[in-house]
């Protein structure tokens, strides 16, 4: 019988070998795939058990925090946004059942404390629970509050304020606002609201015709490429025949031969139309790209929540390039099929304000670990040298004229020189506005103080019957004043 006993033992060894094999398969080889399964809720529950770090405004105002619920092993953390809708954009939300968005999503790793592999392995050995890092943003809470309040008065739209020298985002407000605290309760309603679209951050996802604000880009291309100087005059008739359709100035006004300052101050369409034609596709697209068009802005928000600006072939959902045929005269004045985000236009203003250097826009400022140590600090970096300092200075002078005596006088701040440009794009039949025929997209972009720029701002309002100088310029003024006074 002994031989059989040994064989039986061998068989049992084989059986246990099978167990080792299956256990290895589930626990190691197939583990990653199993963790991804929809039926597997563990990863969500585990993340819920990590106290996610706080998000703070520049002045220390708590934008987002995690509060514990339950005790013992059922203890979990839920996200709270004490200021409600104030920072809903661009901070977004983070809830286990509904996922995350915007800043919360982009900075997830720091917020749940997966910054350094080494420290988390050490924590595991010490059996310490994972804890998230706090992130301080550069957002100016008072200016954000003012921007959102004024937008709510004016209509749907967005305000973006950037510190030109660093790219630090001081304000990013979007109306309709999102109260992230509502997400767990009203997610369906929030995501299905086609008119308000509160989940959409209009500052980065709203694609609007920029209107005359784009003339800043055209002027920059003209000056910097050497096609014109600040003194070059172009004859600007009341109307210009372009591609079979007349391109007209406001009230068909004939300006005669004028230079850049007069043309920008009065937003003369026929002047810029001719400049655009003179520049040609290659030059105009080259400068657009230097200002950040045709690329996803290098901001710290999820790439799929930041739209590219440029000439959009809407039907094919494609961005046109220099090779594609475009109506240069209309592109030069911000028409054609040009669509931009408020963030992109703020980048244009910021680049001019910063002597031609476009900095990468960043919302975060520093990461603070649970022990209170600053582990990372935002390091300003250059996105592109869009134009020369000289070009920037000349353009600034022209943009100052807009505010001192042109279409943008409502943006003036007493005692502070302001440079800017208005824009009013007609958007008749816009569904979002209820399809009215007199609806405009109103814009103002600019920076202040013009001689020592501290803040560059783009304000854009949808569905208004007013002009950029009337509805967007005052928002610019108030937000700029709030930021300048706050410093």
């Amino acid at each position: 019988m002994n031989r059989q006993i040994v064989k039986l033992f061998a068989f049992i060894v084989v059986l246990f070998g099978v167990l080792v094999g299956f256990t290895s398969w589930w626990s190691v080889f197939d583990a990653e795939a199993l963790k991804e399964k929809d039926a597997n809720k563990r990863l969500l529950f585990e993340q819920q058990q990590i106290p996610r770090g706080r998000i703070l405004a520049a002045d220390g105002t708590v934008i987002a925090k995690s509060v514990p619920k339950g005790t013992g092993s059922s203890k979990r953390y839920v996200r709270r946004y004490p200021e409600g809708a104030l920072f809903g954009h661009p901070i977004g939300y983070s809830f286990v059942q509904f996922g995350d968005s915007e800043f919360e999503q982009f900075h997830n790793k720091e917020l749940i404390g997966e910054g350094s592999e080494f420290s988390s392995i050490l924590d595991e050995l010490l059996n310490e629970r994972q804890e998230g890092n706090d992130i301080v943003t550069s957002i100016d809470a008072d200016a954000q509050r003012l921007a959102l309040a004024e937008l709510e008065e004016a209509g749907f739209g967005a305000v973006v304020a950037i510190e030109p020298a660093t790219g630090a985002v001081k304000v990013m407000a979007s109306n309709a606002p999102l109260d992230p605290n509502r997400v767990p309760f009203d997610f369906e309603q929030l995501s299905q609201n086609e008119i308000d679209r509160p989940l959409v951050n209009r500052a980065t996802q709203g694609l609007y015709p920029p209107g005359s604000t784009f003339k800043v880009v055209t002027a920059a291309a003209g000056l910097d490429s050497g096609a014109i100087t600040a003194e070059t005059t172009i004859d600007a008739p009341g109307s210009l025949e372009v591609e079979g359709t007349p391109l007209q100035n406001d009230f068909n006004q004939d300006f005669g031969p004028i230079g850049l300052d007069t043309a920008l101050t009065n937003s003369v369409n026929t002047w810029f139309g001719q400049l655009g034609q003179q520049l040609g596709n290659d030059t105009l697209f080259q400068y657009m790209e230097r200002f950040g068009f045709n690329a996803t802005p290098a901001i710290d928000l999820p790439e799929d929540e930041v739209e590219k600006s440029g000439v959009w072939d809407i039907e094919n959902e494609e961005l046109l390039t220099a090779k594609d045929p475009v109506d240069l005269a209309r592109l030069a004045i911000g028409q054609e099929r040009l669509l931009t985000t408020p963030l992109q236009m703020a980048q244009v203003a910021a680049a001019v304000a910063n002597g031609g250097k476009l900095m990468k826009p960043q919302i975060w400022k520093r990461v603070i670990d649970p022990d209170g140590r600053v582990t990372e600090t935002m390091d300003p970096s250059v996105y592109s040298e869009a134009i020369s300092e000289e070009t920037a200075a000349e353009l600034t002078t022209a943009m100052e004229g807009v505010v001192s005596e042109g279409t943008g006088t409502n943006a003036a701040i007493s005692g502070v020189p302001v440079a800017g440009k208005t824009g009013t794009a007609e958007t008749p039949g816009n569904k979002a506005c209820g399809g009215g025929v007199d609806e405009n997209q109103a814009w103002f972009i600019g920076f202040a103080p013009a001689d020592d720029p501290q803040i560059a701002i783009a304000a854009s309002v949808e569905c208004t019957e007013q002009f950029g100088g009337d509805v967007a310029a005052p928002i610019f003024r108030d937000v700029a004043e709030a930021i300048l006074n706050g410093e």
Partner: protein, 444 residues
């Protein structure tokens, strides 16, 4: 050379340390500070083990020295895991551990001449099968997950299958010891297949019928599989005829297939096993989360007290039956593949010592009894671990010495007592002639 009992004593020390360290790990998780309670628990455990060791020193000085420390390792590990799930459950389990040791001592004291079991083999077999039916008796029977596994009389609840497995093994060992010769000699080849003699085919059919009956009437797929596998293992060892095993297996599979297609409970179990993702929130929930828990463990595990057992903030189980059926998945989750392999190794070492006892034993009944007890023990571990790792359909069998459950602990300590009784006699008989010869100064 160190005597058997001294080796046993030495082996118990690391077990006590393991238990202390395990409790320390769980405590540091739950209370965020380390009291000396884990040391106290470790000391209690060590004291109980020492008492058992001294008892063995007196009653069974020659018995296998490794079995008890190995079993104590599993028990300690199980206690830590159960404590980690629920403190009150661990207290019950610790009491059952002590009760198990009392029955262990009683078995050793009163069954010193365990051949007496042979005389009552039919009584034992019938009694074993009768208690198996008890769960179907209205008033005392209990249904768990569609299977009739438990009996509850007043405050005492138990699972008869745990005790029946010992009764069946005793009966089979005795029956096969008597009939193995005829089974071998009387076998004839029909169409190239060696068949057992018809006359002795009857009792085998009875065993087959009993396990099929369990499948349908008690609806206990796991125990049915376990009993039948133990039967085939014993039949093989007794006769050396592999063809008998093949025939038996074919009969079982045909029966199982037939009942799988006719009895809904059996059918469901197999469906869940094959297609768990069909209903991930319902019938597939337990097996899927058992696997997800293992995936969560990885190579080294999440650490004691780190695994999720309930959905946070609710009472809903994330790993259903974590203290019984799916305790292995929890172990993989917390101590990882390495820890689980260590535990599997302990089971294999127990099996190795058990079969070693069978090899050393001098008479047929002792050999077959040791083989059967060891086989049924190892197969039980395989059935439940195989169930939670989706090797075979998941059924409600306990993981010996680790799962929460009084019947399981107590029955397995009786099983261990029988193994040690056989071992003591076998090793004593092996040592005696040699000892005498050495004393006489026998020439080489």
């Amino acid at each position: 050379m160190t005597s058997a009992r001294n080796r046993e004593l030495l082996a118990l020390v690391p077990v006590a340390i393991l238990l202390t360290a395990g409790f320390a790990g769980v405590f540091s998780q739950e209370n965020e500070q380390l009291g000396n309670l884990s040391l106290i628990y470790g000391a209690y455990f060590l004291a109980v083990c020492l008492a058992t060791h001294i008892f063995l020193r007196i009653r069974l000085p020659n018995a296998d020295p490794y079995l008890f420390p190995l079993v104590a390792t599993l028990t300690a590990f199980g206690l830590v895991m159960i404590y980690r799930i629920d403190e009150t459950l661990a207290r019950d389990q610790a009491n059952w551990f002590v009760l198990g040791l009392v029955l262990f001592a009683l078995t050793i004291t009163f069954l010193r001449d365990y051949e007496v079991l042979e005389r009552y083999r039919y009584t034992i077999a019938i009694a074993g099968l009768l208690v198996l039916l008890a769960p179907r008796v209205p008033g005392i029977g209990q249904q768990v997950n569609g299977a009739y596994l438990g009996v509850k009389i007043g405050p005492i609840a138990f699972q008869p299958a745990e005790f029946t497995k010992i009764a069946i093994v005793v009966f089979l060992a005795s029956y096969l010891r008597e009939h193995r010769e005829v089974l071998i000699v009387g076998a004839r080849r029909v169409l190239g297949v060696t068949l057992p003699p018809l006359k002795h085919f009857g009792p085998m059919l009875v065993v087959w019928g009993a396990s099929m009956f369990m499948l349908v009437f008690i609806r206990d797929l796991g125990s049915s599989l376990m009993f039948f596998a133990a039967f085939l293992a014993l039949l093989y060892v007794a006769t050396g005829r592999f063809s008998f095993v093949v025939i038996g297996m074919a009969m079982f599979l045909i029966g199982a297939w037939f009942f799988a297609s006719t009895v809904p409970h059996v059918h469901d179990r197999i469906e869940i096993w094959l297609h768990p993702y069909n209903d991930p929130e319902g019938t597939g929930y337990q097996i899927l989360n058992s696997i997800f828990a293992q995936a969560d463990g990885g190579l080294f595990g999440a650490g004691f007290g780190q695994a999720l057992i309930v959905v946070p903030g609710t009472n809903q189980a994330l790993l259903p039956a974590a203290q019984t059926d799916t305790i292995y998945s929890l172990i993989v989750n917390e101590v990882g593949l390495f820890g689980a392999c260590g535990m599997l190794l302990v089971y294999l070492l127990i099996a190795a010592r058990g079969f070693k006892i069978a090899l050393l034993a001098n008479d047929g009944f002792s050999k077959l009894l040791a083989t059967g007890l060891t086989a049924v023990f190892a197969i039980q571990a395989f059935v439940i671990i195989g169930g939670v790792t989706r090797v075979i359909p998941l059924t409600g069998v306990t993981l010996p010495f680790i799962s929460y459950g009084g019947s399981s602990i107590v029955a397995n300590f009786v099983l261990l007592a029988l193994l040690l009784l056989i071992s003591d006699r076998a090793r004593r008989e092996a040592a005696e002639p040699a000892g005498r010869m050495a004393a006489m100064g026998a020439p080489a």
